[in-house]
């Protein structure tokens, strides 16, 4: 899932300077799970802003709504009948959601309320860690399900560098060495021979931004339409 964190209130207030009618739009998918931009967090931010306004004697309208997802067109349609009433939309989705919302309603100012962090997993209650960097060429089959592209700061594909130190990384002593983890896992699986395989140089050209992908089933119909 995509993990995000809410920007500090000061930064959000600075963005909202000069706008009187504000709609906060939450996203009920990834960022709701990472406790950053779901219905609950939208409610918290809206109440905070309203209380702050009252404390400072300001009069603004701050309304709130949460859609299922901001990265799918159909879920953005529900906003159509509301948006005319607002000067600005504060989106609590990840960067992708903010952009898609801004694209759908291109006559509106859309502001981000979150910082998007990474694709990760829920390690513990309230703790998330990055596990994938979307390199577009997965090699987890060779590495016992541990990603050296994400966990190793040097993205090494053929064993550790000289800086591995007691299972920790030379870049950050707090972090685990990806290749020590991989060795231990392969040892446990009885697949240490995988370590001997040489991975060819990574093809970074496939990672060219921005990515675009069309499902095979839709490729042919699209081509036919173009003809």
């Amino acid at each position: 899932m995509i993990v995000g964190e809410r920007k500090p209130l000061e930064q959000i207030e600075a963005m909202l300077e000069g706008f009187d009618k504000i709609l906060i739009v939450g996203c009920g998918t990834c960022v709701a799970v990472s406790m950053a931009g779901g219905e609950k967090e939208v409610e918290e931010l809206a109440v905070q802003l309203r209380m702050k306004d009252k404390l400072e004697g300001r009069k603004r309208t701050i309304d709130e709504i949460t859609v299922t997802r901001q990265c799918d067109r159909e879920y953005l349609e529900v906003l159509a009948k509301h948006l005319d009433n607002y000067d600005v939309v504060l989106s609590m989705a990840c960067g992708a959601g903010v952009q898609f919302l801004a694209e759908r309603y291109d006559d509106k100012i859309v502001l981000p309320a979150l910082n998007t962090l990474f694709i990760g997993v829920a390690e513990d209650a309230g703790v998330w860690t990055q596990r994938c960097m979307a390199c577009e060429d997965c090699i987890l089959d060779q590495t016992g399900g541990i990603c050296p592209m994400t966990i190793c700061p040097k993205n090494l594909l053929n064993g550790p560098c000289g800086g591995t130190n007691g299972g920790k990384c030379e870049v950050d002593g707090e972090k685990d060495c990806a290749w020590t983890l991989i060795y231990r896992k392969l040892e446990k699986l009885g697949r240490l021979d995988y370590m001997r395989k040489i991975q060819p140089p990574k093809d970074y050209s496939v990672m060219t931004k921005p990515g675009k992908y069309t499902h095979q089933a839709f490729k042919e119909t699209q081509e036919n339409e173009e003809e």
Binding site: P8, L9, I22, L23, K40, E43, E44, A46, V47, Q48, L49, R50, M51, K52, D53, K54, L55, E56, K59, R60, T61, I62, D63, E64, I65, V78, K81, H82, G126
Partner: protein
């Protein structure tokens, strides 16, 4: 104490868990203990149910102080509800500080079921604190509109048929 401070009667909201703090409140009553009448007790099943939004709303509606009273550490009826509440209260204090409302207006207390006098002491303590901090500045603006949650659009599907099975019937309503 000046006249204004003497006239100010704080409103204190206490979210008390059924198994410990609320029972302690009952005990305080049975023991004929007197405590501040400013405290409005809200009974909740477990402090683990407490949500930041519930606490913020109390302040938005003009409460001068709010506290959550739950079981002692390790004594939660639901094992770790009070640990979750500790986190929620700490997080909400941070949210209050961010908007410039004194975080001291919010507190978490451990009140075991056997501690009637402690219940009374905490109620007095929090009322005194509210008196010291003065009225919640949001009291005057309770009725001032500042926005709301927008209604969700009807999805156009017919409503679900009324359930015919599994209805809860009170024992006294059952026909024998």
């Amino acid at each position: 104490m000046n006249d204004a401070a003497r006239q100010f009667e704080p409103k204190v909201v206490a979210y008390c868990c059924t198994y410990c703090a609320y029972t302690a409140g009952d005990l305080a009553g049975s023991m004929r203990l007197e405590y501040a009448t400013n405290v409005r007790v809200v009974q909740i099943l477990c402090t683990g149910k407490i949500d930041a939004i519930l606490l913020l709303r109390a302040f938005e509606e003009g409460a001068d102080a709010v506290y959550v009273a739950g079981c002692a550490l390790g004594d939660c009826h639901f094992l770790e509800g009070n640990l979750g509440a500790l986190r929620t209260v700490a997080h909400t204090k941070h949210l209050l500080a961010e908007i410039g409302l004194q975080p001291e207006r919010l507190e978490f207390f451990h009140v075991p079921a056997s501690a009637g006098p402690l219940f009374a002491q905490r109620a007095n303590e929090m009322t005194a604190r509210a008196r010291e901090l003065g009225p919640n500045p949001l009291r005057e603006t309770i009725h001032q509109a500042a926005g709301k949650k927008l209604e969700r659009q009807d999805d156009g599907r017919p409503p679900l048929p009324e359930a015919t099975h599994g209805k809860l019937i009170r024992h006294s309503e059952q026909i024998s």
